[in-house]
């Protein structure tokens, strides 16, 4: 089977700074693919190029068979995206938030209501359809966002640090839904995360990015084996491939944003 995400020699420069440096990789259909790396490694920039928010400086990327630059409209129809920060509108109800997306994604008029009901039931939010989203808990908000991104039945779902700031129960809950999503609809899942144990738990394959390059790619077992340490954890693998940068990385804006998200989710 051909890759549903196909990246070849992808590069993004901002002035003199090379954020993404000639990377190539592929993701197979229905795979759960984790994208790891320290802050500033180029994860976000790569995701932004894949979801058509940013144009590559050079190289190609195709999602669901469509080139992200020349066929951006087709790519947008084929994907769902859950940004890292909160992207539901707290001042609208759950139903209105979903209806907005259903209409923007051109879900046929006759199907909108049934799909919204389906999504709300699937997420266990059926009783909260008419509540304003700002009254929701962090886990409910994340589930709402996943709901918004699946209304149009995308083929690939991009999740940017979907569980940052959530408590363990909410995190488990969110992953449960995501795994069910793949099972029910055969969606390919591409996610980035800071939590190694999550990648360990749910991902079929993992890529670790460092300083704009893909440091390593493979199954979790393969990555652990490559460290050469007996019973290495994914944390060990991460440190091994990124050169222990966890402590010094992350600029002010990113950290402020992550903290803010955490505050708002609690």
């Amino acid at each position: 089977m051909s890759d549903i995400i196909d990246v070849k020699n992808l590069t993004k420069r901002f002035g003199d700074f090379t954020a993404v440096d000639n990377i190539s990789f592929g993701v197979m259909p229905q795979e759960i693919f984790a994208f790891l790396g320290p802050n500033g490694a180029g994860k976000s920039v790569t995701i932004k190029m894949l979801i058509t928010l940013l144009k590559p400086t050079s190289g190609q990327a195709a999602v669901d068979g469509y080139d992200v630059v020349t066929h951006s409209a087709d790519v947008r129809n084929a994907i769902g995206y859950v940004p890292q920060s909160i992207s539901v509108d707290g001042t609208l109800t759950a139903y209105e938030n979903l209806m907005l997306m259903a209409r923007l994604y051109e879900v046929p008029r006759k199907e909108r209501k049934t799909r919204i009901k389906e999504v709300l039931d699937f997420l266990g939010l059926g009783d909260h359809a008419d509540s304003l989203v700002r009254t929701f808990s962090g886990g409910m908000i994340r589930k709402m966002e996943i709901g918004q991104a699946m209304l149009h039945r995308p083929h690939v779902l991009f999740l940017d640090e979907p569980t940052t700031g959530l408590d363990p129960i909410a995190r488990q809950n969110v992953w449960q839904r995501v795994l069910e999503l793949r099972k029910t609809f055969g969606i390919t899942i591409f996610f980035s995360t800071q939590y190694m144990e999550e990648a360990d738990l749910v991902a079929d394959r993992v890529a670790i990015m460092n300083q704009g390059k893909i440091a390593v790619i493979g199954t979790v077992a393969e990555l652990k084996a490559k460290t050469g340490k007996p019973d290495a954890s994914l944390d060990d693998a991460f440190i091994y491939f990124t050169g222990n940068q966890l402590e010094t990385s992350g600029n002010f804006r990113e950290i402020r944003r992550a903290r803010k998200t955490e505050q708002r989710l609690h």
Binding site: I51, L53, Y81, S85, S87, T91, R103, L104, Y105, K260
Partner: protein
């Protein structure tokens, strides 16, 4: 091309509808916004009309001032709309909207329409207050229709301008600073509170290219003097300016996410 236009219009409507729903869920903002125009008319207007210092072509100063204050409150609503772009960028709503198959222009027009709706709600409050102050207005079905058109276009222009500023400055703090700096000169360099003819020459030049003056001029003809000779020209200027600015804005503001 035709399909693109239909799609743009229908999606603008969807986005504007959601903005209006937000407003209906929490209308306190509308009430607090009503305070400023009431102060201008009730205190500034009442005081200045006593001294008769400003030539107002046979109308009372309060009559002269009403379209100016109406314009001011519409423009002040619209000029801070860029802030929503920055807030939506910070929360991730903007990124999500940009990833949907929605024309960039629709995201701009959606905002413009919703600013227009807020502007209209201001108009209703100002009209009611004018009634209380017994300011004589020339109100017919046609003049109200004209007021509607001018408010929508004017709100659209300043919303577009605001979105362009937001996509250049990119942070809330800088945006607030610039917003404060440009609103006052826009207001004072227009025919809102005194006629252009009493200004020094250089200021007249500024006032004549200020879209705010065209709003005031159009509204003054519609609800005070009943003289509509200038109206088609005012509307044309506002429509062309709004169209140009919405295209520039649609091109620029997606860059705010980078």
């Amino acid at each position: 091309m035709f399909n693109y236009i239909i799609k743009t219009i229908s999606k603008s409507y969807i986005l504007a509808e959601m903005e209006v729903r937000k407003l209906l869920h929490d209308p306190t903002e509308l009430i607090s916004r009503a305070l400023q125009p009431i102060l201008w008319l009730g205190i500034f207007g009442e005081a200045l009309s006593k001294i008769r210092a400003i030539p107002t072509q046979g109308y009372t100063y309060l009559q002269f001032l009403t379209p100016g204050i109406l314009t001011q409150s519409v423009v002040f609503v619209a000029i801070f709309y860029g802030l929503y772009i920055i807030m939506d960028r910070d929360t991730g709503i903007l990124q999500k909207l940009l990833v949907t198959p929605t024309p960039r222009l629709a995201l701009v027009w959606g905002r413009m329409i919703s600013a227009g709706v807020r502007g209209l709600s201001q108009a209703i409050i100002i009209f009611l207050f004018a009634l209380i102050l017994r300011i004589q207005l020339h109100v017919t079905l046609w003049s109200l229709l004209g007021v509607f058109v001018i408010i929508m276009l004017g709100a659209g222009f300043f919303t577009g301008l605001s979105m362009i500023i937001a996509s250049i400055v990119k942070t809330r703090e800088r945006f607030m600073g610039i917003g404060q700096v440009i609103t006052q000169p826009l207001f004072f360099a227009s025919s809102a509170i005194y006629p252009i003819s009493i200004m020094p020459h250089w200021l007249q030049v500024v006032a004549n290219v200020n879209p705010l003056s065209y709003m005031v001029d159009g509204l003054r003809g519609l609800i005070i003097t009943g003289n509509m000779v200038q109206l088609p020209f005012d509307i044309l200027v506002l429509a062309v300016a709004t169209l140009i600015i919405s295209i520039i804005s649609a091109w620029m503001y997606p860059k705010v996410v980078i």
